[in-house]
Symmetry: C2
Subunit: 310 residues, 2 copies
């Protein structure tokens, strides 16, 4: 069985941490143990992951050093983070596989994802990236760099970039050759490096692709049987944070669409995860959302929330 697993930020480093490599290694050791259990059970595993905190720290470093080193654009920042996270994930998982005496190795890829240069998202940059600032600091940076800033729910200002829809993987052919070889593949970290195609030529763009959308595309591209979105919560909830909160064991595509339309799931967190599952189930696949620590049970339908065809 071929399974695409999408890992959230907490799988890579603890929320509110400093972002040190020691923190990342500790978080990844636990993550890797859960994933190695899937591989041990005979799953062909393709992994993808977020990169928000990692790119945020790269952007902050670049800004603080901008007087001496030219900052890189968002596409290159995404690629930097794919190298960093891809290495740490591959090493942690490889070690977990070795501990279980499993022969599969892990390979992390630098992955470009084609987006449409006319995607309306480019006219409405909405995805916050990097550190937050007070208004004067944001204005100053904006004037110097041309970056767009937007006020956030906490009253602070952050740079926002476009979050266009992922259309296809530049490396789809070699990616599939590799997945077919039986090794674990880490691909499309941070939603993939966003590129546009113009007259047959690729060019990176200042954008961030939603990693859950890319995970659904990845599941299609590699012919996965299952898309598993692993996160910090045990099950999808309705009425989250209210007295009538209810954890869902199952959710049909039709129910999911209704709840999405009703604004039940926040845009920056559970919303895209459910959308990703809905799109993959509609394309004929299986999908579930659940806790990383229960990965094998979520895959088996004994834990988490399974998204069912209507």
């Amino acid at each position: 069985m071929r399974v695409v697993v999408a890992l959230g930020g907490n799988a890579l480093s603890p929320a509110g941490g400093t972002g040190s490599v020691e923190e990342m290694r500790a978080a990844l050791t636990e993550t890797a143990a859960a994933l190695a259990d899937l591989v041990g059970a005979g799953t062909s595993l393709v992994l993808t992951h977020g990169n928000g905190p990692q790119v945020g720290r790269l952007l902050l470093q670049q800004e603080l050093a901008a007087g001496e080193v030219p900052p890189m654009p968002m596409d290159v920042c995404g690629a930097l983070s794919q190298g960093q996270v891809g290495y740490l994930v591959a090493q942690a998982l490889d070690n977990a596989l070795r501990r279980r005496q499993l022969d599969a190795r892990v390979l992390s890829l630098v992955t470009q994802v084609v987006v449409d240069g006319r995607d309306p998202a480019f006219r409405r940059p909405s995805k916050p990236v990097g550190p937050s600032y007070d208004r004067p600091a944001a204005q100053e940076i904006s004037q110097a760099s041309g970056h767009v800033f937007a006020i956030q729910p906490d009253g602070r200002w952050r740079r926002v970039v476009a979050s266009p829809r992922p259309l296809r993987f530049v490396e789809e052919a070699p990616l599939n050759a590799l997945v077919d070889s039986g090794h674990v593949v880490v691909a499309a970290g941070g939603g993939g490096v966003p590129v546009v195609e113009h007259h047959g030529q690729l060019r990176g763009v200042e954008a961030v692709i939603d990693k859950d959308r890319t995970a659904a595309l990845l599941a299609l591209a590699v012919g996965a049987d299952v898309l598993l979105v692993l996160t910090g919560v045990d099950r999808v909830q309705v009425g989250f944070g209210t007295p009538s909160a209810r954890a869902l064991q199952q959710l049909t595509v039709a129910e999911a669409r209704e709840l999405l339309a009703a604004g039940e799931f926040p845009e920056g967190s559970m919303g895209p995860k459910i959308e990703a599952c809905v799109s993959f189930v509609e394309a004929g696949g299986r999908a579930a959302i659940g806790a990383l620590s229960q990965a094998a049970d979520v895959l088996a339908g004994r834990a988490g929330t399974t998204i069912l065809p209507s």
Copy 2:
């Protein structure tokens, strides 16, 4: 014919440049044109590259931002640079292949290389990395970080790390599966991310592996017919910079060993390139050193310096 190409720093960005992405893209467009000619001629291409200037800039950014973002160790810096350079190389080469209507795609890998934790290089850190400082600044950083600094030929001080011998690729099996699939592979950038194996577990180390040594290992690992070390000079020279300077069209392994022993080739530049070629030729392969702009002619033996068995 399977060819491993090792690219020097000038292929990625001009010496003495600012390190901006525009500079890198411009340099890589030329590099990619030369490489696409090889692919167009039917060569199965595996690429590797240096990362000195790129890691140097990452280290400087990390140092300037150290008060707000924890700096990453050298292994993670290597992985960051593999993501960055791997992306830009893959995109430039992919574009060049598309212009020639060639179907092969390009995939960049995050690659770990195992070194021996008891390699004597760890007791004598010698490879300079990152920016240069005057003595008081170097002392201050050294006391705060524990990093080792050494005086350089220009009288300035730079951090030095170990440069252990590469032993094998962690990802050798999936790497080979991928190369066999007929796509162009970019691997082991910057000499590969250095790791040691201890009780069967991998751990990154503070080191930099010489990229030419890793290129020779890569050529063996993928069963290459030819190792091509492409650089800024047309041919290997003896008496470099003297009135009796002489460019060599051919060089036997025995001659190369004598000239290496006589200190004819500088350690930080031509020396490791010739050593890499010697070791690959001794293992039964073909090897040549020459100008990137003449890649196809160097491969055909019409340009550059061919290293011959004795």
